[in-house]
Amino acid sequence: MDSLIKLLKTNARLTDAELAVMLGKTEKEIADDIKKLENDGVIQGYSAIIDESVIDSNSVYALIELKVTPQSQSGFDEIAKEISQYDEVESVRLMSGGYDISVAVTGGNIRDVSQFVSQKLAAIDAVQSTATHFVLKSYKNNGIIINSSETDERGLVSP
């Protein structure tokens, strides 16, 4: 199971047939294993790792730290779920340490993101404060090295 997860993590587009060959299993076994991982919630979904800046060089990615007042019944959950509803939001995480909730946001430009923070996030009652960090450059994302310029230094043919 571990090696299956590892393979899917680096390339979710491998077909069941390919995975079966590589792991020395049958296609049916792979399909069953994946079904189980999905049912158990180990696999939550599949997505492509996109470098937005290639599509639009103005696009920005920001990490926002929120300090939040926990609610009497639900603690942080309700606020976090509310924030998760916005399309601009890529990820929402409850954190230990100096702040409570970490929100990753993408936007077409800095203004879009700033407006989203000041008008949407900061406007939520329970949010006490926000600190916005714009990402300048990504080097590695989801285990994938971004725009790796490393070339194969080995010769083309060697004994």
Binding site: S3, V21, M22, D152, L156, P159
Partner: protein, 391 residues
Amino acid sequence: MIDYNKVLSKTAIEMKPSGIRKFFDIAQSIDDIISLGVGEPDFKTPWKIREAAISSLKLGRTVYTANAGLMELREEISKYFKRTIGMTYSPVDEIVVTVGGSEAIDISIRTIVEPGDEVLIVEPCFVCYAPIVSLSGGIPVSIETKAENEFRLTPDELREKITDKTKLLILPYPNNPTGAIMEKSDLEAIAEVLRETDIMVISDEIYSELTYSGKHCSIAQIDGMRERTVVINGFSKSFAMTGWRLGFMAGPKEVIKHSLKLHQYAIMSSPTTSQYAAIVALQSCEKDIQMMRDEYNMRRRYIVDAFNKLGLDCFTPQGAFYVFPCIKSTGMTSDEFCEKLVYSKKVAVVPGTAFGKCGEGFIRVSYAYSINHLKEAVKRIGEFLEEIKNN
């Protein structure tokens, strides 16, 4: 003007360049080539090994070591032999740290072979054995292994080539280029033939860690074989340390003491930085080896399946990181196949003939590449096969 043909050594002049060289030149002349031709890992040396080297430099450990290598490293090598093949070699006088497995091959052959001696070389194999045997005035005698035996050496094939001049057998398993291995029962049958003779064995086990079914077995483990066997291994393949140039050899002290003289006069001592790094490799990199082996294993399954689906018969190799598919169904020679493939689809593989005459009809494909790289290459080879079928 000096006539160099008169002043230079005849042996050197007559030595043929490696069959790979010619192919390398062709591949080099073509842009955007996608290669499956490399005989070295695609992994970087594990970081803690590199760190150990850096730290040794910071500490100023930049002088020669003992001729045979750092004692601490030899002790680790001794433990390594114990835990991998269950053999005891004394770090004091039965182990030499060499400049890659290559130097170990060189000095062990020179230690054993005299002019006129016949040396049995199991082919297909790595390219350096025969030329080095010739340097010592020895006579290389090929033993051709066969695809139907999964390229294992059989006792009959061995017996057939033994004469009263036979001095040495070179046994290269797990094998480059075929990926074949010799299991314990195979080795026992070979030992049975050798025990009643004075023939020595050099067992080149550089790919021992890359064995995919069960544990690697060395011929030195078989009854009566330790006294006649020199075992060669190294860090290049198993620890992804090709550029560090570090290997080692072990054998009976009566052999090793003479090899050590050759090493001492030619090399002094192996690279000090590499030796410090190698200590860490042996002490704490078992997990890294396992990770790399698992990765190669997945690629191996993928590529064997892919070639069989393409209609190029490919036996399932159990070692190293090569597959050796048969291309006889295309009606081409290995050389033709490889040249046409590289010119028309820009995929470089190595003709089987680079590793001995009996490699004719086969190509060596390295899977020391990422799955995506392998997939692209397989796709192009598939297109190539379609095109030649339709022509």
